[in-house]
Every structure is written in C-alpha cells, then in structure tokens.
C-alpha cells in the first residue's frame, strides 16, 4: 500500500506508522500524555493484519524488558512512555545499549521532576542524549516537531537502530503527542520474515541450528580487558554515528544576525517568533536540531563564526544550551531562555526575549 493522508494526533501517528513500518511488537504501559499510542494500536488490532504483537505490560520496567527480549530475537520492537515512565526504562535501555540491540523508544515528555505535571516539557534532554542509564553509552535521539515527523521518525528510528544495532529514541513532548495535523503516512513495508532476520541479524536468537555457534546476548563481561574492548567498540560505533547521522533544519540562517536554536514543538513556536522578528526587520534564523544525539555541533560552530548572537530556547532550565556552548567553544556568548514545569512560551514572549537580549 502506498502513502495515505490522515488527520492524526502525534501519538496516533506513531501507532499508525509502527504498523505500516512492519514493526513486530509494541510493549507499553499507560501514562499521560502518550496513552493514545497503545490505545490506537489496540483499536487497530494489527495482530489480525500484519501479525504485530501489542501487549500492555505490568509496568514500564516490564515493557522495556519485553522490548529487550523481542529485540534479542531480531524483531523490530518498540515501547513508548512519558518522562516518569522513561526513567523506569533507563535500566533496560542501558542493557539494550550494552548488548547492542536495536529498539525504538518513544518519550512524549512531560514536566518533572518526580510525578511533575502532564503538561509539555523538554526536561529529559540530558537523560536522552547523555545516555540516561548507567554506563558509557549513547542512544540515537530524534526530535520531531510535527505530527508528520512523529510518523516519519518511526521509520527512521527503526532503520537507524538496526543499521547500528543501537537503541533509538523519539524524544517528543506533550504538544506534539496531543496535537492533530495532516500527516502523509509512509508506504507500507512488510514485516521481515524469519529468513530475512537470519541473514540481516545473524546475532538474533532464533534457536541454534546444528553447526552454528550459540548466539549469546549479554552485556556482562567480568574481564576488564575484554570489557574495555567492548566499550571501545561501542565508542567507535558512536563516532561513526556522529559522522554519518547528524540531521538538522536551518531556516533563514544564512543571512541571520541572530540564531535561535530550538527543537521539537518549541522550534515551531520559535519559528512563528522568527517570522514576526523578520517582519520587524530583525534578521533571525532558526537552527532546529533533528538529531539531538548526534548533535549538529559542526554546523552550529560554523554559524557561530558569522552571527552576532546565538540563543537556545528550551522547555527546561537550560540543557541543550550546554551542547551548544561546547560546540561553539567560547567563540560567541550563547544565551538561554527557558520555561519550566509545563509552561509553554508564546511567540510574542520569545520575540520579546530576542529584542531584550539583542536589540537594546
């Protein structure tokens, strides 16, 4: 089946896209503001059409470990949650990274810390891009800013996860999860056959045929020398991902005096502020990282040489701004503006910030 146009919530788009991608399994636990993902899957009953397994687990912990098992058998499996639930999944994500298993995790962020609020937030940036659980590892982090990208990044996330045998996160927020937009659902792909899994994922658990060595998936290694080698192999892979997979969108940056760096829903709000600024003759551009890890450091460093100011605007107390400052390495003063606790700034508010910071 080819593309299909629908009006969907971001959460619903994730569910539709997962089925169309040919995902083998979804394991989740309800939490606001992302419960529509599992609700939509359960309503669509993909086990009757594609054979996809959908299961409500007893906890987020169980769900991520189901993902770990499913991924171990070479299947395209995913889970979704929101901030408090994603904290619970961090152990499992560390195991996925340490065992080098592909999986897709969706975090529709809400404000924290603790039980926090159900309103949108970007306060899990550090958790996503710096690893999140124990150990030195990285998770490919995609930040959608539209319902269309919610759907598209299911495909991209799974593809990258399998390409690098590494977990990938879709780091969305309550706005993207809850809003409805027109979305062109990508073409349907069939689920992979056992034979395809055997060839594409020779490491997968399928039962050991006579003549093949057992496939053993573990992150445990008690020999420090071997464990260091394992870590060096992971790090080499991460450098490869950083080289190949950086994605971003630059809007009106080339003639800009000032660049706003923002991701996800907030990039959209900043875009409106940017349009308003341009109408007033203030040359503002938007740099929207699409991959938060790998981070578009090089392009930001390049712009830092040309512009008068860079400001990071986030729904947190200042997280991505640290990566921007590392990227520009002191070449320019990087400013920050953030709202906390589920408050979302309006375009007006952002325009005022730009004026206050730069147009004295």
């Amino acid at each position: 089946m080819s593309e299909e146009i629908k009006l969907l919530k971001g959460n619903e788009a994730i569910a539709h896209a997962a089925i169309r991608y040919g995902a083998d399994g979804y394991f989740g636990y309800p939490i606001t503001p992302q419960s529509e993902i599992m609700e939509t899957l359960m309503t669509l009953k993909p086990w009757e059409s594609t054979g996809m397994v959908v299961l409500q687990a007893e906890s987020e912990v169980a769900a991520i470990n189901m993902v770990y098992g499913g991924a171990g058998s070479g299947k395209a499996v995913m889970t979704s949650s929101s901030s408090p639930g994603v904290s619970l999944k961090q152990e499992g994500m560390s195991y996925l990274a340490g065992t080098e298993l592909p999986a897709l995790i969706v975090n529709v962020m809400r404000g924290g810390p603790g039980l926090g609020t159900i309103q949108p937030s970007q306060a899990d940036y550090f958790q996503a891009v710096k690893g999140g659980g124990h150990g030195d590892y990285k998770v490919i982090t995609l930040a959608p800013s539209s319902v269309q990208e919610m759907a598209d990044f299911v495909y991209l996330g799974f593809d990258l996860a399998f390409k690098y045998r590494n977990p990938a996160i879709i780091l969305a927020d309550g706005i993207i999860g809850q809003m409805m937009e027109k979305v062109i659902l990508p073409p349907v792909r069939p689920r992979r056959t056992e034979e395809e899994i055997r060839t594409q994922c020779p490491w997968a658990l399928q039962g050991k045929p006579k003549g093949r060595k057992p496939n053993i998936l573990t992150s445990l290694e008690l020999s420090p020398a071997v464990m260091e080698d394992n870590n060096l192999r992971f790090q080499a892979k991460y450098r490869e991902i950083e080289k190949n997979e950086v994605r971003y969108e630059a809007i009106d940056c080339d003639d800009a005096d000032y660049i706003i760096v923002a991701f996800g829903s907030l990039a959209r709000i900043c875009l409106k502020a940017q349009e308003m600024a341009r109408e007033e003759g203030i040359k503002v551009g938007i740099l929207r990282p699409i991959t938060l890890w790998p981070f578009p450091s090089d392009v930001i460093a390049e712009y830092a040489k040309r512009v008068k100011g860079i400001i990071s605007i986030e729904l947190n107390a200042g997280q991505m701004v640290e990566d921007i400052r590392l990227a520009v390495n002191g070449a320019i003063d990087v400013k920050f503006y953030g709202r906390l606790g589920g408050i979302v700034p309006t375009p007006d508010e952002i325009l005022e910030v730009i004026k206050k910071e730069y147009i004295k």
């Binding site: 394991f27 299961l55 912990v61 169980a62 470990n65 499913g70 039962g207 057992p214 053993i216 998936l217």
Partner: protein
Amino acid sequence: MDIKDIIKPENIVYEKPRLMNDNPMHYCPGCSHGVVHKIVAELVDEMGLEEKTIGIAPVGCAVFAYNYLDIDWIEAAHGRAPAVATAIKRLNPDKFVFTYQGDGDLAAIGTAETIHACNRGENIVIIFINNGIYGMTGGQMAPTTLLGMKTSTCPYGRTPELNGFPLKISNILAQLDGTCYITRQSVHNAAAIRKTKAAIKKAIENSMAKKGTSLVEVVSTCNAGWKKTPDEANKWMVENMFEKYPLGDIKNTVDE
C-alpha cells in the same frame, strides 16, 4: 583386555549431554545448578528442541548459564527474565522459551514480572532454583531464607519482625489462572533428579502445547552460602528446607 577394547559405543553407560560444552563451571562443588543444567541440556536434546530453544539467564549465580549450555541465550536484567521471555515467546510462538532464575531474581526483585507473566499464562517454562540465599553476591538473605537461618544480612538469623517470612512464591503462583503446572522438586539424590527431569519435561511439553505457564521449583543447596560441606548441605536441606518447602506437585491442570 586393553582399555581401547572397553571404550566402544556399545559399552557406554553414561555420557555428558551433547549440548553441555567443556567450559569449566564457576559453580561451587556441590552446588545444585550443575545438575539442573544437565537436566535441561538432556531434555532439549532428547526432545529435539535444540533448534527451537531460547534460554533467558537471570542475574544471580546462573547468570553464566549461557557459558555451559550450547543453545541460544539472552541474559536478562535482575528479575526481568519473565518479561524478556514473554516477548520472545509471543514474537516466536513456535520456539521453546524458558527462564532459569534464582530465588532473589524470581521472588524478590522480579516478583511483579513473575506474577504477571504467570497471570497472562505465557507459554514459557520457568525453572526456579530456590536455595534460600543470594549465592552470587556472597550469601545475603533471600525472600525464601528460612526463619532463624543466618546470612550475611541477617547474621543473627532471620526474624519475622525484621525480615518478614519465607515466601512460598510457587504456592502464590499456583493461585493464578494462567499457570497450568507448578511443582516443587529437588536434585539431592538420583530419585529426586529423575523426578525433576520428568517435571521439567512435562513443563516443556505444556509450553509447546500452549497450555499456559509451567514452573518447576527446585529446592536446592548453596553449600558455600550455607557454610556447609556438600553432604551437610544436602542433609540440612532435607531436614529444614523441605519442611517449609515440601516437594511435590502444587498444581497440575493438564493431567486432571
């Protein structure tokens, strides 16, 4: 008669199971794990399941089970083996999927996963080694530690006031509609080993026939953790553990 005249296939009375490899085991001499490993290796081979078997290793002494049995394995986070097994079996319904877990893994940190996998009636086999102690980390109290039993975290003996009571988790799991076969066995003598092998075989048959969850608890010794010789440990187990954890089938809806 030369020794070479004796070593002939027709004279074989015992051989190492084909699926057990030559890696030296890290288990302490006298530990029950080796015997249960051997039973699993024999059954997978005898039942022709080698190409269908996926094992889930726990955290605990059996974390290294994958080093000894030549089948496909995945090592789970502490307590999560039943969740891992759930997905593998649901995504690969024709495979034989089993977890191999100790008492801390199954009945403490993994209680939720254990209960819910059993309650969903996942078509998996759970092999549960209950030796009443945490062996791998050096002899701390387990949920199944007997009252009065000394461990490094209840050095004066387990008391109900401080530590609660020994958890008979198999009896709890037998209450769940998803389980079809719950049995408690041991491997301290030849007769017990034969019974345990028959029990695990039945559990495997249940899982392949999609009858629900089967669990075989093996009341075991940890002579190192119990600070006893293997022989003393066996005697202590018979005299003390069997009273709290009596052997026999707890639930069997398949043969009813």
